[in-house]
Symmetry: C2
Subunit: 215 residues, 2 copies
DNA sequence: ACCTGAACACCGTTCAAGT
DNA sequence: ACCTGAACACCGTTCAAGT
């Protein structure tokens, strides 16, 4: 268990993010990072014990770019700004986003975002016992929706609804048939993100309201 | 653009799923699949054009294991059964779950799950124009929550809340400090999944109700 | 304190060939 | 129709050594 160096960590994370942004997550190898820094791959192991540990740090660096909203904002604004902040970061580094779902969110930056959300939910009047659950629901939505969009789970444009339905007969897909008129127009994902978030905030409000009447 | 063989595809997908379940997604290599089938790695390229294409098929095979609820159920039951079905599959093959967020959901199995959800939302009385959005919200939640749990994003037990807070001073984390009493007890993820799903169904109900009064 | 070089056990994939 | 074998350009990581 050697002691690790700190000095060039920021440089390493910058190089890693740049590679991921330019050539995708698969191209983000220790050898690529080393080459970009003009150093041997083995030099990196003085700073991180493994690639896995380096990726944790890359994720932390990413989440650190989400701005924490200033004090004095309404709770809805706080939640919206955090969600949009995550979305903005994700759009800049789409290929790194899968890491969020794949490793524990324990970096200081991640914990600060969680804490700001806790405060907002408490300010909204949500029952304290439910606040951690609601934070998990909101963050799961924000990350999941953005990741679905940028990774193509929602359909990446190259494969339109017609092509999807073509694999099965219309009789097997009554739902799609009913909604045919709504499935052809393209979707504005930013808009949908905002609408979903509003609906989820309504849900928080309703939980807060029913907690007030219960006491 | 050669013509691909079909014959041994099921065998290949079985081998791939078994490897992923036993040794994780990183161990799921073409060479490992080939070895398990007693064949040369290159033999696989007669069935799939690339590893990427094979992974798409693995995902399709996984989603095909989600049972489609029988006709005659209430819309809430349909949505719940689909969500629990996804969760059950995910728990059996946790390491494959990240693929859901990483590639388009265009397999016949995926489309059938989406269609069943469309039908349930229409039966609930949700405005047709909002049904695709609500389906995306529900599936994003179901996959995201399950993936967060099994991949450790929600905290994997080895790193408790105390350790998370220890990285920052209590003054920097007023939200965590307020909720201290609620953050120490362990969470039953299955229970939380059910509660969240109920809340989301309430949201659908409310949208349906306000659509009724608007007309 | 910081970095290198050679080596090991792996990858996905191409190409030409074999039955 | 189905599979093999050798080869290429990659991986992460260990170990011993160099300044």
């Amino acid at each position: 268990m050697r002691k690790l160096k700190e000095s060039r960590r920021p440089e390493i994370l910058d190089a890693a993010l740049a590679i991921a942004a330019e050539r995708g997550l698969d191209a983000l190898s220790m050898r690529a990072v080393a080459q970009r820094m003009g150093v041997t791959p083995m030099a990196l192991y003085g700073y991180y014990r493994s690639k896995d540990e380096m990726l944790d740090a890359v994720l932390g660096r990413l989440l650190a770019e989400i701005p924490i909203p200033p004090a004095g904002l309404g709770w809805r604004e706080v939640i919206e700004q955090l969600a949009y902040g995550l979305r903005a970061v994700a759009v800049r580094y789409p290929s790194v986003l899968p890491l969020v779902f794949t490793r524990p969110a324990i970096s200081p930056a991640a914990v600060r975002v969680v804490d700001a959300t806790y405060q907002a939910l408490l300010a909204a009047g949500a029952p304290p016992a439910q606040v951690p659950r609601l934070e998990r629901m909101l963050s799961t939505f924000a990350v999941g929706h953005t990741l679905s969009e940028v990774s193509g789970r929602f359909g990446d444009g190259t494969l339109d609804p017609q092509a999807r339905r073509a694999q099965l007969t219309p009789e097997q897909l009554p739902g799609h048939t009913c909604l045919a008129s709504h499935l052809d127009n393209p979707v504005d994902w930013t808009d949908e993100f905002r609408t979903d978030l509003r609906d989820l905030c309504e849900l928080v409000e309703r939980l807060a309201a029913s907690a007030r009447t219960a006491t």
